[in-house]
């Protein structure tokens, strides 16, 4: 388990729309470059399962920031739905 690598993946999306685009177009290929990421963690990231991330101890400052990076400010209701699902 590598909560810290999940945080690294998320943090490297911040302010970097090119990385976000690469991830969205081929998430498996994108995440393959992170050596310490385990299979279930890659799934959590692919699904942007912020609730599970938070449950594992990933910073919710980071999940919130990256969600907005990916979805824009209008994505907040969806974020809260996902967090409370």
């Amino acid at each position: 388990m590598s909560v810290y690598t999940i945080e690294r993946v998320l943090w490297e999306f911040a302010g970097n729309p090119e990385r976000v685009q690469k991830f969205k177009s081929d998430p498996d290929a994108y995440l393959a470059s992170y050596a310490f990421l385990e299979k279930d963690e890659a799934e959590i990231l692919k699904n942007m399962d912020v609730k599970t991330m938070a449950g594992r101890g990933v910073s919710t400052l980071l999940t919130l920031m990256v969600w907005q990076e990916m979805e824009g400010p209008q994505g907040m209701p969806h974020y809260m739905m996902r967090m409370n699902s």
Partner: protein, 282 residues
């Protein structure tokens, strides 16, 4: 000799500038009036330097480096975030005094992380924008404590950093008149399922401790208690505690006067602004 002439605690909630419309208009007006009070007080106190204590929110520093305490000694600009509705620009700095605080820390066992240049985030830029921009006299020294991202700085250490800042300012041979800002919201849950909750009871408890200068009780609030009652965002009251340390004279005490308190779910935060006062000898 340089001296600390004032101190304030205030939020740095990015929604205050980014989405003012999310708050009840009357509450928002009360908060903005208190920021205006601080702007006026900074002028009245004839301050020329403001040390702004903020914290990263995983905006500035990534998981590759989480500094417990950082001082910026060189050129400043900000804000980093484009969505704050704050125009990005240069922030006047005070490299000589900043380096003196850095070196005094090294002499006393405070191994600062150091930013030789820095683009400031909302945690320092919101207070700078609302209370200092347009004041031609004031230069800024930013300090960042790890009170948002884990591992979080210990409360006792935050207080000690504040005392160190006071010692450093008072040993500076210039005649600077320095103000200290401790920034951050009181109760707020950031990004978690409780986001939007505000715990007024917790907020009033914190404000009461600050008003009476009850440092012992502030330091006694451990992480678990704060997370349960104030949310992950409330850990940044360690920035306030640092400012309280800077406002505590060697043989005196600090007290506070609340300028405004507003619980604002739309801004996802218990919003408090306080003026600190040093009393006693020293």
């Amino acid at each position: 000799m340089a001296k600390i002439v004032g101190g304030f605690c205030m939020p740095h909630d990015p929604l205050i500038t980014a989405n003012p419309e999310f708050a009840d208009p009357k509450q928002a007006a009360n908060v903005m009036a208190a920021y205006a009070d601080i702007r006026r007080r900074v002028e009245e106190l004839d301050a020329d330097t403001v040390i702004v204590i903020g914290d990263d929110h995983y905006v500035l520093f990534g998981p590759g480096c989480v500094p417990q305490m950082l001082i910026a000694i060189g050129e400043l600009e900000g804000p980093l975030e484009s969505w704050l509705r704050i125009e990005r620009g240069v922030v006047p700095n005070h490299p000589a005094l900043a380096e003196h605080i850095m070196k005094t820390g090294f002499d006393r066992g405070f191994d600062w992380a150091v930013a030789k240049t820095m683009t400031l985030d909302h945690s320092t830029m919101v207070p700078i924008h609302l209370t200092l921009r347009g004041n031609p006299k004031v230069r800024v020294i930013p300090v960042y404590l790890s009170s948002g991202v884990t591992p979080v700085i210990r409360a006792e250490r935050a207080f000690a950093v504040g005392k160190l800042i006071r010692e450093a300012v008072e040993s500076w041979p210039g005649d600077e008149r320095v103000i200290v800002y401790g920034t951050g919201g009181i109760s707020h849950w950031v990004g978690s399922k409780e986001m939007g909750r505000v715990n007024e009871e917790f907020d009033h408890r914190v404000l009461s401790m600050v008003e009476s200068g009850d440092i012992e009780s502030l330091l006694a609030m451990d992480d678990e208690y704060i997370l349960e009652n104030g949310g992950n965002g409330a850990l940044e009251i360690r920035n306030w505690i640092c400012a309280l340390g800077a406002m505590t004279p060697p043989r005196g005490r600090v007290t506070g006067k609340t300028l405004v308190y507003e619980p604002i779910p739309g801004w996802v935060t218990g919003i408090g602004l306080v003026e600190l006062q040093s009393g006693g000898v020293g």
